[in-house]
């Protein structure tokens, strides 16, 4: 009796183990096979956005090659060293592009690119990746709505800390009801990246 039971349990358990192993193996194989193409496709998407956050007529250098690596900083939310792109005209830095991570989206991180001119004005913001609810929180994508263009030409000088918030919180930015958290996260991360540029102005804009 006990022997039979033991036999049955071990068969069940080993079946489960075998299936888990096969599934894990299949996942790791597909992860490694797709890792490079996925990185390339993300890099392509990022390059496309670079020209949207800093207009290409403002600079004459190769953005992708002209980067400085900066260490983790809570203001831009990076956990590893990250490259900041620098747009130069006649060897003067005219703008920088910062990749920021908003950790507090509705479902996970929202990665954006923020272009900031040497006059500390925002040239453009674009969302690179996010996991917000489709049809509700995805209005932060430029393809879906013009919301993200609200940031254009905004700066810390013209707007106080209080105005850097969604209208519901007494600030200056529109939001879609039902997806306030999304707008809040992007406004906050954009604000913090402007603070970051201000604090690190000398280093970022040194030619």
């Amino acid at each position: 009796m006990f022997k039979d039971h033991f036999r049955k349990v071990s068969i069940t358990a080993s079946t489960m183990i075998i299936f888990s192993l096969v599934a894990s193996a299949a996942l790791s194989i597909s992860y490694f096979l797709t890792k490079t193409p996925i990185e390339e496709s993300d890099a392509r998407a990022k390059r496309m956005f670079l020209n949207q956050v800093v207009p290409s007529n403002l600079y004459d250098n190769n953005l992708v090659k002209d980067t400085i690596s900066v260490e983790p900083n809570p203001l831009i939310g990076n956990k590893k060293n990250i490259d900041i792109y620098r747009a130069k005209k006649n060897n003067q830095v005219v703008a920088v592009i910062i990749e920021t991570i908003a950790p507090d989206g509705y479902s996970g991180e929202i990665k954006t690119l923020v272009g900031v001119s040497q006059k500390d004005k925002i040239l453009g913001v674009r969302v690179i990746t996010h996991k917000e609810t489709p049809g509700l929180g995805d209005y932060i994508e430029v393809d879906k709505s013009h919301w993200i263009k609200n940031f254009d030409l905004k700066s810390l000088d013209e707007m106080g800390e209080k105005e850097w918030a969604v209208k519901k919180d007494g600030g200056d930015f529109d939001y879609v009801s039902g997806a306030t958290i999304t707008a809040r996260a992007v406004v906050k991360s954009t604000y913090k990246s402007l603070l970051y540029v201000k604090e690190n102005k000398k280093r970022l804009f040194a030619s």
Partner: protein, 209 residues
């Protein structure tokens, strides 16, 4: 052949997952704010359902009944992740349109429901076909739901079609009323419940006649 016909009829009408089984409502109601969103999620779900039914059916005899549900979930989750990776890596335009919906599908209980009630008892080909027709039946309901909500909520149809077929398709967007202010309720979650209720009522009305 008559089997296949019956399966298709079940998927699209008699046992339609969207208006009869009422399974998988969580992503359904959140996403169907426009025709294109509904259709995209529907197609992504149909792909996953066809593949998960088709891959679980051949191994059903090796899975002891006590642990079938965890094994099925394991396989579905792995499959969805692999599909997600592959589309992202190799079919970038499709990923831009559907990618955002794919992780939502893991949470969709209609996938597990069809595996459990059909693929676990039937051969591979009918199972594959069951997944496909259930998925397409759901896609049909999602598209209708999206159409209702978009029409009342924004006064348009097919907005966002350019994201799938390129910017040349943007003139296919239909605007019904000029200067329509929008009816927010239809876009918000309660609008989804109300529209779905209308669809179910319509189906029952047709059946009752």
């Amino acid at each position: 052949m008559s089997d296949i016909k019956k399966i298709a009829l079940d998927g699209f009408w008699k046992q339609n997952p969207g208006v009869v089984q009422l399974l998988g409502l969580c992503p359904t109601l959140a996403v169907t704010t426009s025709v294109i969103n509904g259709l995209s999620l529907g197609i992504a779900t149909a792909i996953v359902m066809a593949l998960s039914n088709g891959s679980i059916s051949p191994i059903r005899k090796f899975v002891p009944t006590e642990i079938r549900v965890p094994v099925f979930i394991l396989i579905i989750a792995a499959l969805v992740t692999i599909i997600d990776f592959s589309i992202h890596a190799f079919i970038e335009p499709l990923y831009k349109a559907l990618g955002i919906f794919i992780p939502l599908i893991v949470t969709n209980c209609i996938v597990l429901a069809r595996v459990e009630s059909f693929a676990a008892k039937n051969d591979t080909v009918p199972s594959f076909f069951d997944g496909l027709s259930m998925g397409l039946g759901l896609a049909m309901v999602l598209t209708l739901l999206g159409a209702l909500r978009e029409l009342f909520g924004k006064g348009t149809l097919l907005s966002g079609i350019d994201l799938i077929f390129g910017s040349s398709a943007s003139n296919l967007v239909i605007h019904f009323f000029s200067g329509y202010q929008g009816f927010l309720l239809a876009i918000l979650p309660p609008g989804a419940f109300i529209s779905l209720a209308c669809l179910i009522a319509l189906k029952n009305h047709i059946e009752a006649r």
